[in-house]
């Protein structure tokens, strides 16, 4: 395993609705935790990368503004955007800068204050993360796009609404134990019962997806501090190494997508590269965070990552194989379905969870058996961008 670039510090704000502060103050929350975790000073940081989805940022060119607020000037700073996978892309760029020898220690900070704009504005602008020329004119939106995948997948592979519901039930089980999650209640099958007048999750949004199949908007920040081998060994008692990185992209227009029943092509494309680079297979992964913006996305990710054969992802949730005690624990921090999905902060939050797992510091969410290899799968848009990152001790 190549020990060339390590994560030496991780941080995350609480994910909340309506953060009472500005984006610079929100960014500070994750930054402070990561710097304290790494035990380094601002002079030790050579460069910073800020990641967000710009449709929410009233501040134009936020990287410079946030770098100044965090005290990371006059070092260079950069801005990276791939919608929902922005901070994973930021980590790939930070990794590359360190491997190239340009910098020794790089801060990657993802943030999003989604409450900056109203939810009607948000629906429209998120929709613009898809094809505005040829699809938005029909009245598209994110849930509808994922529903296109769900419909084809369910028709071909025998996946049921109960299977989707059980992904949400698992998420709720662990969301309760994550003090940083926006949604911290358990979820019961009766919450999806259309005959239950109190059922919050049964209403159709974009059939076959229901309210309970979707994650919530949230405000949040995440921070990952990367270092080269020399600095990692000097600064950190428990460096966690990035051993594989893969990334892929796909046609924005649904008319050019290869096969809806097979899930998102970027998922398996990025996974293949990351496994090859790390020299491992899916069987070696002990704990994973996958992009579950919708319940169907988690099932498709199981297959794209090779945790289950194509079309067989449902078996993992039926057999509880992706629970904490199961064969391959997935999203045992509650995932996006419970944590919420503050676009630019999401990938960094997933990475923080995996780093804590590999350090044995995940508290009530800790996977048993001293996991040594972890994986993060982060998707931007409706499979427009995909990123898979593998971590080892």
């Amino acid at each position: 395993m190549a020990k060339e670039v390590a994560v030496i510090g991780v941080g995350q704000s609480s994910f909340v609705r309506g953060y009472e502060g500005s984006i610079r103050e929100l960014a500070f929350e994750a930054f402070r935790e990561a710097m304290q975790d790494a035990g380094i000073a601002k002079k030790d940081v050579d460069a910073s990368i800020f990641c967000s989805a710009p449709e929410y940022d009233k501040q134009r060119s936020p990287a410079g503004v946030l770098a100044e607020y965090l005290g990371l000037i006059p070092q260079p700073t950069f801005y990276i955007e791939t919608v929902c996978s922005s901070s994973s892309s930021g980590v790939k760029v930070g990794y590359s800068m360190i491997k190239a020898g340009l910098h020794d220690v790089v801060v990657v900070l993802g943030f999003q204050k989604m409450s900056e704009i109203t939810s009607a504005e948000s629906q429209e602008r998120m929709g613009r993360g898809a094809d505005i020329q040829w699809e938005a004119p029909f009245g598209t939106m994110m849930p509808a796009y994922y529903a296109l995948y769900a419909q084809a997948y369910m028709a071909k592979n025998g996946l049921t609404h109960d299977d989707l519901m059980n992904v949400r039930v698992k998420s709720g089980t662990y969301g309760q134990t994550n003090e940083r999650a926006v949604f911290r209640k358990g979820v019961k099958p009766s919450d999806f019962d259309p005959n239950n007048p109190d059922a919050r999750m049964a209403a159709a949004v974009a059939w076959p997806l229901r309210v309970g199949d979707a994650c919530a908007n949230a405000d949040g920040s995440s921070c990952i501090i990367l270092a080269n081998a020399e600095k990692a060994k000097a600064f950190s008692k428990k460096p966690v190494w990035i051993t594989g990185i893969g990334a892929a992209s796909e046609a924005v227009n649904m008319a050019a997508r290869p096969d809806f029943a097979k899930g998102l092509s970027v998922g398996y494309g990025a996974a293949k590269q990351a496994y090859n680079m790390a020299g491992i297979t899916a069987k070696d992964v002990k704990v994973a965070e996958v992009h579950d913006c919708f319940t169907i996305a988690e099932i498709m990710a199981y297959e794209g990552l090779g945790f289950a054969p194509m079309g067989d992802g449902k078996q993992l949730i039926r057999e509880k194989a992706t629970y904490k005690e199961g064969r391959i624990p997935v999203n045992v921090d509650g995932g996006l379905l419970s944590k919420g999905h503050p676009i630019g902060a999401t990938g960094g939050s997933q990475m923080r969870t995996i780093v804590l797992q590999l350090r044995g510091e995940a508290g009530p969410m800790q996977v048993p058996g001293d996991p040594d290899i972890g994986l993060v799968h982060n998707v931007g848009g409706v499979g427009l961008y995909g990123s898979v990152t593998i971590f080892g001790r």
């Binding site: 429209e124 020329q133 004119p137 029909f138 009245g139 939106m141 296109l148 419909q151 974009a206």
Partner: protein, 137 residues
């Protein structure tokens, strides 16, 4: 007609493929094909990604396809609320040609099935907007 006439509500003012809207008004749903290498595109493009040619011509989309997938929107983005619920889907016309559109309002949601035979036709809204829709074959 300008491209602002395309769809329930257009988000793009100017494109070299704006003729698509005029063709809709003539009752035709057309993609583009590269004169150099023969690559076919729908939605239409004015530039060929396969061979980098800008020499494209229009061709009429096939009329017989199958519905690859669909969704029923019970909740809509800003500006589309009055249309709810509406069904959108992807139809496959083989020859590497697929198309994303709404399904015609006269198809009952419960009658829509993955794999069903479909066709397409142009559509003019009351306010003069031009579009096309997936219909039952």
């Amino acid at each position: 007609m300008g491209f602002d006439k395309f769809g329930r509500k257009s988000f793009t003012g100017v494109t070299k493929t704006a003729k698509f809207v005029d063709l809709l008004a003539e009752g035709k749903i057309e993609g583009t094909v590269c004169k150099q290498c023969g690559a076919k595109y729908f939605p239409p493009r004015s530039d060929c990604a396969a061979c980098l040619s800008k020499d494209m011509e229009w061709f009429e989309m096939p009329k017989k396809g199958t519905l690859e997938t669909f969704t029923i929107a019970y909740y809509a983005p800003f500006g589309f609320e009055k249309d709810c619920p509406y069904t959108m889907g992807v139809a496959d016309f083989s020859d590497n040609l697929k198309l994303f559109a709404r399904l015609a309002g006269d198809i009952k949601p419960e009658d829509v099935k993955v794999g069903m035979d479909v066709s397409i036709r142009p559509l003019k809204y009351d306010d003069g907007q031009m579009s096309f829709e997936i219909t039952k074959a």
